[in-house]
């Protein structure tokens, strides 16, 4: 070896200022601190967009000092379809189809946000039954969405089995939703004025059977399988702490906000659909770590099952939709409507100019705000924990990129 650098390495003589590599490749930066005279280099690790644990097409640029993350940046836009621009060329009753493709695992709630905004503009009175059907499908969809989170969160820790159990239960819900709406994921069920159709005969027995099994057997089983696992607990407890102040400052909503101890739920604080008539609890966490976010979502599934039971028992009679014109031309104006989707406050900010197309359609995606909080939360953690923290916030790239 003629290179003198190797000789000093071998002799253990390397010290401060003994050699400097002439030019560092892009992405490499000298660390200001050295360990025993040896310098460590910061390395930028590119996670994604095809990384199995980034839940869709999220690309995280993680700058690491050894195992520890010193800086994180989310690079997004891989799923950008221009939903907001496309909406300006759609009719008002077709906005739900775009919302379905935003947050694609909880489509009903997105559709509902768009429908509520259009109804606010139209000042149309929605029949009571439509409200109840909207809540019923929303809660079914919430369980399905939380099960996807539960399954993939387990995958992030390396657990495979519980993912399959979660998908089994999700299939049961998708079958029910398919019977109700005709579709498994892109429902297009909630429209301005009400819902597309009434419940098919015999579906209430199916829903009841599912809720009985889910509440009494499957959900405790899920909780025991993942949450009762000591390895899982030691993996998630204490990581990714989002304080109450940070959560509010970064605009978090939904389970992520509630895990930080803020009791805010659109269903309780600004009730819509049938929620004013229903009884449910809003679970909150204490410390705001990944474990609290797990507990809050598990409790939300329990509450959703409780809501479904109430909704099936008290389902009113009557029409399932108000009479609205075929082509909607809401008067000019600007409104904001929000729902509590499974990821937080999904809002639609709608500007009408009186024509049959929206003038401006803005989709407030709760995951976008959770994602920008991640950039603040992740530094200081080990690189293996990054995957866990992303998983615990349940970000959905479909609605972030829109």
């Amino acid at each position: 070896m003629s290179d003198p650098r190797y000789e000093v390495y071998e002799a253990g003589l390397i010290g401060e200022g003994m050699h400097e590599p002439p030019v560092l490749p892009a992405g490499l930066r000298r660390s200001p601190s050295g360990v025993d005279g040896l310098r460590t280099e910061h390395l930028v690790v590119n996670m994604g967009p095809q990384h199995p644990s980034t839940h869709g097409v999220l690309r995280m640029l993680v700058e690491v000092d050894g195992e520890e993350v010193v800086n994180a940046e989310a690079s997004i836009g891989y799923l950008h379809r221009g939903i907001e621009k496309l909406a300006e060329h759609r009719r008002y009753d077709a906005l739900g189809t775009l919302m379905d493709r935003g947050d694609y695992v909880s489509g009903i709630m997105g559709e509902l946000a768009a429908a509520l905004a259009v109804e606010q503009l139209l000042e149309v009175e929605v029949p009571r039954k439509a409200h109840w059907l909207r809540s019923l499908t929303s809660e079914l969809n919430r369980i399905a969405s939380h099960l996807v989170w539960y399954g993939t969160f387990g995958l992030d820790t390396g657990a495979m089995g519980q993912f399959l159990y979660a998908m089994r239960d999700r299939e049961a819900i998708l079958d029910i939703l398919e019977a109700i709406s005709g579709q498994r994921m892109m429902f297009n069920y909630v429209r301005p004025g009400g819902v597309v159709r009434d419940l098919p005969p015999g579906i209430d027995a199916k829903i009841r059977a599912f809720v009985d099994g889910f509440e009494n057997v499957y959900l405790p089983e899920h909780d025991a399988l993942l949450g009762g696992n000591e390895i899982f607990q030691s993996r998630v407890k204490g990581i990714g702490v989002i304080t109450r102040e940070q959560a509010l400052a970064f605009g978090l909503t939904g389970p992520n906000l509630r895990a930080s101890g803020v009791r805010y739920d659109v269903r309780a604080n600004r009730p819509y659909a049938a929620y004013p008539e229903l009884e449910f609890e809003v679970p909150v966490g204490e410390t705001g770590d990944a474990w609290d976010r797990y507990l809050v979502r598990m409790e939300e599934m329990r509450q959703a099952a409780r809501l479904i039971r109430q909704l099936i028992d008290g389902m009113p009679e009557g029409p399932h939709a108000a009479k609205v014109p075929k082509v909607l031309r809401p008067p000019a104006g600007e409104v904001y409507a929000a729902v509590e989707s499974s990821r937080g406050e999904t809002g639609v900010h709608l500007v009408s100019d009186g024509s049959e197309h929206p003038y401006r359609f803005h989709y407030r995606a709760p995951s976008l705000f959770a994602l920008q909080a991640l950039e603040e939360i992740v530094p200081g953690h080990l690189i293996a924990d990054v995957v866990m923290i992303i998983g615990s916030t349940d970000v959905m790239m479909g609605e972030i990129d829109r």
Binding site: H80, E84, Q120, G347, R360, Q372
Partner: protein
């Protein structure tokens, strides 16, 4: 429940700020230069939660809407300001960190320059993509795009 008069009092010292009750809720319209001051004053009054930030192409300028919320009062206030086309969007991230990504998105989709932002890069699209949400940018089919 806050009324327009209460919000007017909160923003009384700010030049050109006018509060009004609209369909959307309570809307405060301010000049471009006093946005930061308005948000800071409202933040002291409890509106510390930036729910949303969006732009609208009104045909004359880009209207930026800051959607604020007070958790304690359970109420929303919308702050609106006008930014000329190709103008400068001053970042408010130091008052509301939640504005970091929505500001990048709004600036790129309306063709505005972002100033005072720690990371003023594009968020969703790559370099060279037109400001998509401007009304003078048309939606094209892939065939039209290739031509």
């Amino acid at each position: 429940m806050l009324r327009v008069a209460d919000v007017e009092r909160l923003v009384a010292g700010i030049e050109g700020a006018a509060a009004s009750e609209e369909r959307l809720g309570i809307v405060v319209r301010v000049g471009r230069g006093s946005v930061e001051e308005t948000l800071a004053q409202l933040k002291v009054a409890g509106f510390n939660w930036l729910v949303d930030l969006l732009g609208t192409d009104t045909g004359e300028h880009v209207e930026i809407t800051y959607h604020l919320r007070s958790y304690e009062a359970g109420q929303d206030v919308f702050v609106k300001t006008a930014v000329p086309y190709d103008g400068e969007l001053a970042s408010v991230w130091q008052i509301c960190p939640a504005a970091l990504m929505p500001e990048r998105e709004t600036a790129e989709l309306f063709g505005l320059r972002l100033s005072g932002h720690p990371n003023p890069k594009r968020l969703l699209t790559t370099d060279g993509v037109e400001p998509l949400l401007r009304k003078d940018v048309a939606v094209r089919t892939p065939e039209e795009f290739r031509r």
